[in-house]
Structures are given as C-alpha cells and as structure tokens.
Amino acid sequence: MTAPALPPSLVENPRLDRWIRFQPNRTVRIATGKVEIGQGVVTAIGQIAADELDVPLDRVAVLSGDTTSGPDELYTSSSLSIEVSGSSVRLVCAEVRAKALERAALRLNCSRDDLTVVDGQFLQDGAPTGQDYWTVAAEIDLSQPVTGTAPMKLPTAYKVVGQNVPRRDLPAKVSGAAFVHDVAPHNLLHARTLRQPGRGAVLSTLDEAAIRRAAKGELQIVREANFVAFVSPVESVAHAAAAAAPLHAKWDNVRRIEPEQQEAAWLQGQPSDDRRIGALPSEKPPKRLVQMTISRPYVAHASMAPSCALAEFRDGHLTVHSHGQGMHLLRKNLAAALALPIEAVTAQHLHGAGCYGHNGADDAALDASLIALRLPGHCIRLQWRREEEFGYEPVGPAMLVTLHVDLDDKGRPADWTTEIWSPTHVQRPGSNSGFLLATEAMANPPPEVVPSDPTEARGGGGTRNAVPIYDVPTHRILHHLILRAPVRTSALRGLGVLPNVCAIEALLDELAARAGEDPLAYRLSILSDPRARRVLGGVAERAGWNTRGPAGTGKGLGVACARYKNRSAYAAVVASVTVEEAVRVERVWCLADAGLVINPDGVRNQLEGGIVQAISWTLKEQVRFDEQGIASLDWDSYPILRFSEVPEITADLVSGGGNPALGVGECSVGPTAAAVGNAVAHALGVRICDMPFTRERIMTALLKRA
C-alpha cells in the first residue's frame, strides 16, 4: 500500500512526538504551529484530536506556537490552519490511536479489532480492560515518523467535530487576563522606539538631554546605528521619551513621497514586473468589448492593539514572547538578524489583538530583542505607540483591476482578460520577500528585496481570485507587479481577493443589464460548479432576491459569489443598502460551503467578521500619505465601521456533503465587498468604481447620473 500524500506540515515535521504527548495528569497535549489570532483555531484543533483519539475534549490540551517543542507550520495565514494543521493533527491522532490499540491488544492477548476506545479507555467487547492511552503511552514510540496510513474515522462517526464548542480562549478575554501586553514579570523594563523614517535615513543628531527632560524619570537610551529605544522601569517615562523624540532627532537622507501616490490610479504606468497567466493573447479583434475598472487604495490592518513583544536575554539565550503569526519563522529571522545561533533563540506565542495579516507583530519582536541583547537579565516589554502602528506596519497594497471582456452573440463572456496593477502582497520576513523592520536601521541593512508575489500554486497575491468561477471559455491575467511602492506592503486578509472579486461581480451586473436579464439569473446561466450554484441560489432565496426593486431608488440589493483562492471555501453574499449622502448597509446574508465544518459557530463568527471588515474597507478605509509617509495615524484619520454602522448579518452554512474541511477566515470578504458595490450601483443607478465609497464619490456619481 502506498502512503497517501501527507499535508506539508507533516512532511516538514514527521515525528509523532512533535505533535502529540500523553501527560501524567491523564491529558493529551496536541501541539500545533498555528496560533490563535481570535479565529478559534486552538479550539477547533482540539475538537479534531478529541474525535480522532476518542478522548473527551477536556482532556485535550493544545500547545500553540512554541519553538521548544511544537511543529514548524510556517505562518498562520491564508485560511490554511484547518486544512493543513487540522488534517495533520487528524492523521497523527489516527496513527497514535492505532499504535496504542496495538500495544493494548498485546498486553490483553487479544485482537486489536476486539478493542474500542471510549473516553480514552480501551474496552474489550464493551467491558473495561484497565488499559487506556496513559497505561500504554510509555510503550508507544512517538519518535517514529508519521506514515499517514492509519485508518481515520469516517465523518459520520464524529461526535465533537461539527459541534458548537465554545472557544477556549474566550473566558480569559472577558475577564481581563489574556494578552502578551499584560505579562509583567518582576524584572520588567518598558521600552518604546524612535523609528527610522524610512530605509536609508540616517540619524545625524539626537538631543538625548532634551529627551531625558521630556521623559521626567529614570531612562536608558539604547542606540544602535539608526535604531533608538527608550527604556525605563516606568512605562509612562519610556512613552513620554518616545513621544518627544521625533522633535529632538534630525535625520538625513529621508525619502519623500508624494501624496498622490496614495491613490490606486498612481500605480498605472509605474515600473512593473509584467507577466501573463493563462490563455495566449487573442489574435482576433474583439467584437463586443466591455471594460470595467475597479480600484482599492492602501488599507491598514489597524489592529486594536499596537504591536508588543517581550524579550529576555539571559546566559546567552534569547527568549521572545510574541503575537506574531509564525513562531518558528520568527525564531529563524531573529537569529539571523541578531547573528545568534538558532539554538540560542526561543520564540513562544502569546495572544495579541487580531492582526488580519502581516502587521507590526514580528517587527516589535526584533525591537524588543535588540534592546534585550544590550540589557541582559531584564525582560524587555516593547510596545509600539498608536501612531507607530498606523505609520510603520506594512499595509495592504492598493490595487487597480481592469477587465477587458469580449462577449459572444448571446451576451456571455467569450474572451476575458483581467489586467492587474498592484504592489506585492507579501513581504513577510524570512521568505526572501521581506525582512524585520529594524534591520533597515542597522549599520549594514539587508539589500532591498526585489518584490515578488505568492505563486499561483499558493493562491497568488494580486492575482488571487482573478480567475472567475463562472464559465469563461478563454481567460488570461496580465499582472503588473509594481516594483517600487511608496510604502511597505504585505499580506492583508484575502490578499487580492477583494478587488478581483469586486471587478468580476461588477462586470457581471453590467453584462446582465446589457442583456436585459436579472443579475442572479445571468450568473446562474454561466455557472456550472454545483457547489457555487448551491450557495448562490440559497443566499438569494434567503434574502428574498425575487422582491428586488428597480434601480436608482436609493435602495439597492446586490449579490456576489466566489470560491476563495478558487479552491477553498465558497461564499455567496447578498447586501441590502440605502444610499443618501452616505452608504448604509442595512442587511447582509451570507451562505458558505466550507466542506466539513469543525465548529459551526466558530465558522459563522469568522464569516461575520469578514463581512464587517469588508464593509469597513469598502465604505470607509484608505491609508493617506503626506510627504513624510503614512499620514493617517489615528482612528479619527483612519475611521473604521462602528457599532452604529454595522448591519444585521445572517451567515449560514450548507452541509458539508462529504467534502473535506476548508478554511473560512477569508472567504466572505470578496463577495461581501462585491455585493455592497453592486447594491450601491443598484441603489444609485450608476456605479462607483473606486473604494472607499465616500460622500464625495457618491455625489460625483449622482452628478454623473444626472
């Protein structure tokens, strides 16, 4: 029998003991490299293990993001935690269960088939045997590599998977004890930084005396080349020093940027790495060409908490606590940046606020570590300030998407070109695509990286979801990867999915209108994928699509559908809006197909969160620039959707239908933004093609209609 293809996490971390350990207190510890970022993954991983082992959930402990003993599963990103870590844990548990039963059968002198597992105990013909996982654990060789050949349970046998298990991390979060920000050991020192304004900027003078006067307390100033940190036993002293520091620092060689670079339109015509994906260029001139351009500006992750890390250097060993998305990669990146052997670094995850992608978390860990190395024996708590989080985190890149679609004589797409202009969507450190921020401030900064985007095999970056899920005979992507963006850009929830799905779905509404057909009926006429048809039809029914009124009344209903990365979860969304001077999203219905669902309520929570965030991006958000760089540095200049603006949401799931589990963290954002865009176009009778849908743009659209 040939072994099945193992998930990548098991290929990289084959030893069983990297994943599972039976503990003396009759619990089993499952380790995952994926970390809790508010998405409920730790709970879901526990559910998978409980079912596969037949152990009660309260006997399953989950260790998450720990370089001392957990597996390296790269970053917690791209909605892959359930698909990759979940399937790895399932295979490991199935194999360990089989090994344990084999040992028990030997002891009991019976056949393995005579044994069943109930609550972690082994029963023979239904009667207790005195044997369980913990009695045989010492005889199971967990140093063996996983083979992936052990029989796994059928989904019909799941008891814990598929249940609304409450999140394990939430009780601490409603009672005030939860985050890396809140850890305060006795040897704590607080730290803040003065940020280098940008790559290449050189700190020519720093008036330390003036900063000390402003700080009004015990203060150490740690300086290494163009990196400066203020350290104090008193947090407010370190904070005051950092707040005052920019006034007392002079920088040479500061790069200036132009405010107009904040608009997506600026991207067109910039130097780019160009490539074509898909069909060769069409040789025939188009007969019925339709075009549509959609843009989204730079968008912030805008985490509620500024990035924070703890670092302590003691006896030659650096221990870091971080809320980053991948502790093993952080460990490698820190070791490289600090010229430490990898064995001299430990990285352990502690909770932070939601990050929604690559924000300042890893950078803060290097900041803290740089200080820790200079002040051994102290635990350095480095926290970014609010303006630092907005000003220096990598932002989601602006994107411009133009569709050029030639129609057949029935008004259906025949030849479809998607043209994309975008800076890179991934500059995560350590992947040859980026590096930790403070390394740029060192005496020998790393060479500037040539931007690259995730490959199509990984779902693409700017090209993510650029291929329509609809029946299009000929499709190609022309991707212009912008080589020099004015600000650092990196992964934000869904990467290119939002502008790409918005463009596709906007165009389909226009094509339906040209054909004189209902937008839903038009979509269904060119949609063969049965799973997509099911969610699209289902959400339309729930939303009462057939009562949709005429266009241009100020009230609109819009629909959209996508399959995340064209291979993960399906989501269809209907949005109902009212447009006067501003857009108000009144209701959103979402129907998703995520295959096997581990925790339905957890999935709904993720769908809802993606819906709210996508509405916020679409209606309100834009990172603004001035010549110094990012200028939207607080919540007044970077407003997000508020309680008074959030719609009623109905998010449902179709049954899994025997399909494998698919990640859901990002599947609702594209269809939601697209449905809102279409609903606004329906309400106004004219389309707004540039996000965010500000009052100005609404007024301009209305004038255009008049």
């Binding site: 508010g38 939430l170 409603v174 005030g176 009004k216 947090e235 985490s303 509620m304 008074s644």
Partner: protein, 158 residues
C-alpha cells in the same frame, strides 16, 4: 502625590505624579492588566473604566483627579466564584474574536445596564458606539448585552 481612592471596592493608595494616567496606575502600580492601551487618544475605548459609575477613558484620566473616587475595572465585574451576567452572556453568545476590545466594552455595557436595565437595541448601540471592534463581532456583542439584561432582570436571557 499620594492619592487615595477605591478600586473595585477596595481602598487603595498610590504615590504618583498627579499627571500620570489612570491607565498607568491601574496596570503598573496596581497590577490590573485588563484595562488596556489602544490609542491614548480617547478614540477606541480599550481603556474604558468606571469612575463613580461613569464610563471614563483611563488613558487620558489623570491620577490627580481621582482622590476619593470609586473606580471599577473589568477585574471588578466578577468574583472568583461567579462571572458577572455580562461576562456569562458574552460567553454564551461567543461574543468576541481576538477580545482586545472586550474589557472596555463590558465596562460600558455595565454602565448602561446599571442605569437602564431594559435597554433597546438602539440604546445599546448608542452606549457602545464610542468603542471600536476590528474583528467584526459587533452583532454578537449587541446580542450578548441584550442577553445579559435578561439575566440581570429575571435570571433568564432576554
């Protein structure tokens, strides 16, 4: 200066400069870490506490104004044995994702329910609108406050 005030029903005295923030006092002098820094600008609500039953931003409230005041933080909602009905309702509704905003939101919700045991949805929205939540758990949070109102009124969810 020495400041005497009550925190979660316990008399406390701290000796700090009078311009130090209440946030700093709670976290770094009294070890109450549930009140959190989000912006320092009264824009996000992560640091909300009650001062004499009124929701107040701890990030900008100066210690010098606290003499004789009563402060309630997230740690003051529950006892070791029993969660506050608001906390219970938030867990029952699974109202939260990352949870960083929840301390402040629970505090504002408590202030609301203390003065209005039977709020409408619109009144709950108005009471929480100064709070930001980036994960998008708003609807769950609103449902949880309604549920807590029911638990407080008659021991049953609304």
């Amino acid at each position: 200066m020495a400041i005497t005030f009550a925190v979660n029903g316990v008399a406390r005295q701290v000796d700090v400069p009078d311009t130090v923030s209440l946030l700093e006092v709670l976290r770094n002098h009294l070890g109450l870490m549930g009140t959190r820094y989000g912006c320092g600008l009264e824009q996000c609500g992560c640091c909300m506490v009650l001062v004499d039953d009124q929701p107040s931003y701890a990030c900008t409230r100066e210690a010098g104004t606290l003499e004789g005041r009563r402060i309630t933080t997230i740690e003051g909602l529950s006892t070791p044995a029993k969660l506050h009905p608001l906390q219970q309702a938030f867990l029952e509704e699974q109202a939260g994702q990352c949870g960083y905003c929840l301390s402040g939101i629970l505090i504002s919700a408590k202030a609301l329910l203390d003065r209005n045991p039977n709020p409408t949805r619109a009144e709950i929205v108005a009471a929480l609108d100064k709070h930001l939540c980036r994960c998008g758990a708003h609807q769950r949070i609103l449902r949880a406050v309604e549920r807590a109102a029911g638990l407080l009124r008659d021991g049953r969810p609304a």
